[in-house]
Chain length 235, copies 2
Amino acid sequence: MKNILLASTSSLFGEEYLAYLKPEIELLFQQANEIIFIPYARPGGLTHDEYTAKAVSFFETINIKVKGLHTFDDQKMAIRQAKGFFTGGGNTFLLVKQLHELDLMAELKDAAESGKPYLGTSAGSNIGGINMQNTNDMPIVYPPDFRTMGLINFNINAHYLDPDSGLKHNGETRETRIKEFHVFNSTPVAGLREGSWIRVKEGKVTTEGIHSTRIFLPGQEAAELEPGSAMDHLQ
Amino acid sequence: MKNILLASTSSLFGEEYLAYLKPEIELLFQQANEIIFIPYARPGGLTHDEYTAKAVSFFETINIKVKGLHTFDDQKMAIRQAKGFFTGGGNTFLLVKQLHELDLMAELKDAAESGKPYLGTSAGSNIGGINMQNTNDMPIVYPPDFRTMGLINFNINAHYLDPDSGLKHNGETRETRIKEFHVFNSTPVAGLREGSWIRVKEGKVTTEGIHSTRIFLPGQEAAELEPGSAMDHLQ
C-alpha cells in the first residue's frame, strides 16, 4: 500500500528546513532507518553533495541515515534496495531531465508503488503527479519527456499563490495559467499552498496541512478542499 | 537591416492594449500598410480568431491592415510575402510548439533578418531570443525544441519582476531562477520590466522604455542598463 507525502514546500517562511513537517516525516518513515535522497533538482545550483548534506543534517535529528542517490554506481539497484526516498525541491525541469536520462523515473515509481515511503517537497512533489506540466519553474534545461511518476491521479502546482490584487503587473496569475493548461489537457490540478501537503496511506489520498487546497478541473470553477478531505475522486 | 521591437508586455497595467507603444509601433511599421499577426500563444485560451480580432482593432487606429497567420492555407508563403509581423503574448510553450510543428520558426527568422519589421510582446518577444528557456510560462504543452529565432544574441525574461521583500513565500525569485539557468547555460539574459523593450534598428541593439533593464551574464553580478543603452556587447 502506498505511503507517500507530497509537500508544497520544504520550509515555511522564516523556519528551519523541513521543521513544520517533522512529526509527519517521523510517521512516514517509522519503518525506515535509512533512506535515499534524490538531489537532482539542485536548488540555487547547489552541488549534489551540498544538497545531500542539507538533507542529512535534518534526518540526523530523527535518527535516519541518508545517502545521496548520485553516490551509487548502480542507481537502479540502489533504488530497488532502498527502504525509502526523499526527493528535494529545486528546478523541476532539471530533476525530470536527470531522472529520464538515467532511466530512473519508472524505477522510482515502482518502488513508491510497492509501498516504500516516499517524501517529496516542491519539485520532488511535482514528480508524484501525472506530468510536470504545472510546475512554476523556469525551463533552464530541456527534458526528453514531461511525464512523471503518476503516484496520484492528478498534477500538483506547488507553492500555489492566490492572485495578489494589489500587484500592478500583467504577468498571468497562477489560476489563469492552470486554466490555460485545461484548454489543452484534462488532468486535474491541485494548487497546493505552502504549508499544505498530499498524503497517500492505507489506500486513501487526502489533502493535509494548514490551508485548504485549490482544485482545478477542466471546464469547472476552481473549488477548495479543506485539510483532511479525500482526493480519491479527482481523476 | 533588422527592424525589430521586442516588448516586455503588450499593455501597461490599467491601460488599453498596446497604448503605451503606439508611437513606437507607428515608427516600426511606417513602410508597412498591412502585417501578419501570429496568434499561436493564445492567452487565456482565446481562439486564434478572437486573438487576431484584438490585434486588428488596435492596428485599425493606425491604418494598418492585419491578417491572422492561421487563416492562410500556405503559411510559409504568407510569411515570405508579408510586409511585417506582430507576434502577441500568451503561453510561450504553445507558441514555440506551434511554430516548430508548422516548420515556421526558420521562415519567420529569415523574414525578420531580411529587414521586414517585427513586433513581439511577451511570448512574442521571447522567441526573438536564442531560446525560450527564460520564459515564466507554465509548460502546458511539450514543444519539440526550446530553440527560437535568435534575432538578438541573448534571451529575454519578459515581465521581469524585482524581488518582493514583503512576500512571505518560498517560491524562487526571478533573479534566482535566471542564476540557476546560468549554472547550465552561458546565454546572456535581459530581464525586461513591464514598460521596457528591446529595439533593433540601423544595425544597433538598444534597450528602451521607462525602466532600466537588468542584465544577467554567467558568473557575474547582475547589472542595470539605462534606457537608450547599447546591448550589442551582450554575447
